[in-house]
């Protein structure tokens, strides 16, 4: 197996981006369901 080629800090930022995006999508879904069309 090749060694890790992404530093730990970059992984943390990536994980943070994934979770922030997920929370954003959930908020959008909520707004979609309650939007006054």
């Amino acid at each position: 197996m090749p060694p890790e080629d992404i530093p730990l800090g970059s992984w943390r930022r990536l994980y943070g981006a994934v979770l922030a995006t997920a929370l954003g999508v959930m908020v959008l879904a909520f707004l979609f369901s309650r939007w006054p069309y």
């Binding site: 090749p2 080629d5 990536l14 994980y15 994934v18 997920a22 879904a29 369901s33």
Partner: protein, 566 residues
């Protein structure tokens, strides 16, 4: 129901021939078991990511989820809210452990960490639950096609099963992953086509905002329910917590998924494939559910059958007691006209500048309730004819829509998408079932040095055997209820408990084999007890099972002599 155009047949036929040919081509060159089961550990992250996603998206996702959105709304979306959190947790925890251990199956790791019997039991539970659900994976599209094409269910099962088995038996995991890539791209195209066509088919004077406002008034857009009631199936909390545990268990301990990312060329590729899935899963499910909602609006302006299953509709017309059906049909037709008028009046008020008066909403809701009430009367009649206590025909809504409203090859394309969704799930499941039976059972029985050619032959034989088993289960699956919930329920009985064992393995250094084994049994018994004696929603089974195993396993380990650490 309308028949398929020649263009539809051409599209569907081309897909089937092309995917089998592509699968066979990409799967050539397997010389060792590691090639056959882990694609030589050489796959890039994007291919593994699409394969992970394709394995999860089954035909049930299209047929069941759209039907559920049609009849109950979009609340099912919350099941996926916990998934991105689970992906990150897995990237940090289990995935590196699997890599360092250099295993073929997730359960193999448990022998390294605990003992052989824990590995055997978890692998056996996987084989039982996945072996049963692979039958449902085959059954759902056969149900669609038996309706749509007038084929028998066994013939459909044979066609879908044999084409998939052909390339998985020959090419193993390489074929599985590369066909998954094509199938997943096709599925994404299909999702956008469905949403686009459904919007395009709204009446000229009825815009998308009108459609969404109407669906909202009918309660079809409700997604986030903050109720704390544990018996409600889809709440924000069951989605975030139960959904997270479900995703942890599915992606972290189910061999059909673990095998996908163990095929990555490095730990980096495996992690990226899971994060790729974390980004795209909720938006994709949202679009699929939205399709179901738009189909719901579509049928305000187009004739719809009383029962969605054409076989039952025919039985109703031929066997309902004299004088019983006509009044129901009359009430249904009147309710449909009333609902259409109410929907148009609602939209007309919106065009005049208001968002629709409360009176228009009340009238629309009453008309919608009248449609549902007439349909319930028809359900009561068919239940009497069929001598059944439950009736659910929501799985037939989407195929009926596809056949009656898509033209010029588009129906063929969507049917190819349903095929692709089914085959991509089936292929991953067959490959993983063969891997677990080969690595966790057959190879442990053998004595003497390994013969790669012999093992490769047995691996192919096991793949074919699981394919046949899946077909046999598929023939019985029609007796079960709503397909989508059945599959999740099968998994939920064992999933949480198996996750608990992996939790013990990596989070509790003091836990030992005795604690893991008996903790696992305690978890399964607890979940079975909760499922049988309470109305707790199935998404909660996973946290209940996992926590029980963890606590019981830890308690029993502490009483035993410390034999296994780290």
């Amino acid at each position: 129901m309308a028949l398929l155009d020649p263009a539809d047949w051409a599209v569907l036929g081309f897909y089937l021939v092309a995917i089998v040919g592509f699968g066979l081509y990409m799967g050539r060159g397997n010389r060792q078991v590691v090639d056959f089961f882990l694609a030589g550990r050489q796959m890039p992250w994007w291919a593994v990511g699409l394969s992970v996603m394709a394995t999860q998206v089954s035909a049930i996702t299209f047929v069941g989820t759209t039907g559920q959105a049609f009849s109950k709304g979009m609340s099912f979306l919350v099941v996926y809210f916990g998934l991105p959190f689970a992906m990150v947790i897995l990237c940090v925890t289990l995935v590196p452990f699997f890599y360092r251990a250099g295993v073929y199956t997730a359960y193999q790791y448990l022998e390294k960490r605990f003992d052989g019997r824990t590995r055997t039991l978890t692998s056996l539970l996987f084989l039982i639950s996945r072996g049963l659900s692979v039958g449902v994976t085959l059954y759902a599209p056969s149900l669609v096609l038996s309706v749509v094409l007038g084929w028998s269910e066994p013939a459909t099962i044979l066609l879908m099963g044999s084409t998939t088995i052909a390339y998985v038996v020959y090419g193993g995991n390489k074929s599985v992953i590369w066909t998954d890539v094509v199938q997943m791209i096709l599925i994404w195209v299909g999702v956008f086509v469905c949403v686009g066509v459904a919007i395009a088919q709204l009446p000229a004077a009825f815009g998308l905002r009108d459609a969404l406002a109407l669906a909202q008034t009918a309660g079809r857009l409700e997604i986030v329910d903050t109720s704390l009631d544990p018996t409600k199936p889809y709440t924000l909390w069951s989605g975030l917590i139960g959904g997270c545990f479900l995703a942890l268990a599915y992606f972290g301990t189910d061999q059909s998924q673990v095998q996908r990312y163990l095929s990555g060329s490095s730990l980096r590729e495996s992690r990226l494939s899971l994060l790729f899935n974390a980004f795209l899963k909720i938006p994709m499910q949202f679009l699929i559910l939205l399709t179901g909602v738009l189909v719901f609006v579509f049928y305000h302006f187009h004739a719809q059958p009383l029962l969605w299953n054409p076989t039952d509709q025919k039985a109703l017309q031929e066997q309902a007691p004299a004088g019983a059906l006509a009044p129901v049909q009359g009430r249904f037709a009147a309710a449909e006209s009333r609902r259409r008028a109410a929907a148009e009046a609602f939209a007309a008020e919106r065009r005049e500048g208001s968002r629709g008066t409360e009176a228009a909403r009340v009238e629309y809701r009453a008309a919608q309730a009248a449609v549902e009430s007439a349909r319930e009367e028809a359900h009561a009649l068919i239940k009497t004819i069929r001598k059944e206590t439950r009736y659910d025909d929501t799985n037939y809504v989407f195929p009926t829509y596809v056949l009656s409203s898509l033209r010029g090859g588009l129906a063929g394309l969507i049917l190819a998408v349903i095929f692709a969704a089914a085959m991509s799930t089936l292929s991953g499941e067959l490959s993983s079932l063969a891997t677990a039976s080969m690595v966790d059972f057959y190879q442990r029985l053998g004595r003497g040095p390994r013969d790669e050619r012999h093992d490769l032959f047995v691996s192919r034989l096991l793949t074919a055997a699981w394919g046949v088993f899946a077909g046999v289960v598929a023939l019985q699956a029609g007796r079960l209820g709503s397909a989508i919930e059945v599959v999740n329920r099968f998994g939920s009985y064992f999933y949480g408990s198996i996750l608990g064992v992996f939790g013990l393995a990596i989070l509790a250094p003091k836990a030992d084999g005795r604690g893991a084994f008996w903790g696992l049994l305690a978890g399964i018994v607890t979940v079975a007890f909760v499922a049988q004696t309470t109305s707790v929603a199935f998404l909660w089974y996973n946290p209940i099972g996992a926590i029980t195993v963890f606590v019981v396993g830890l308690l029993l380990s502490r009483r035993a002599p410390a034999t296994a650490v780290g």
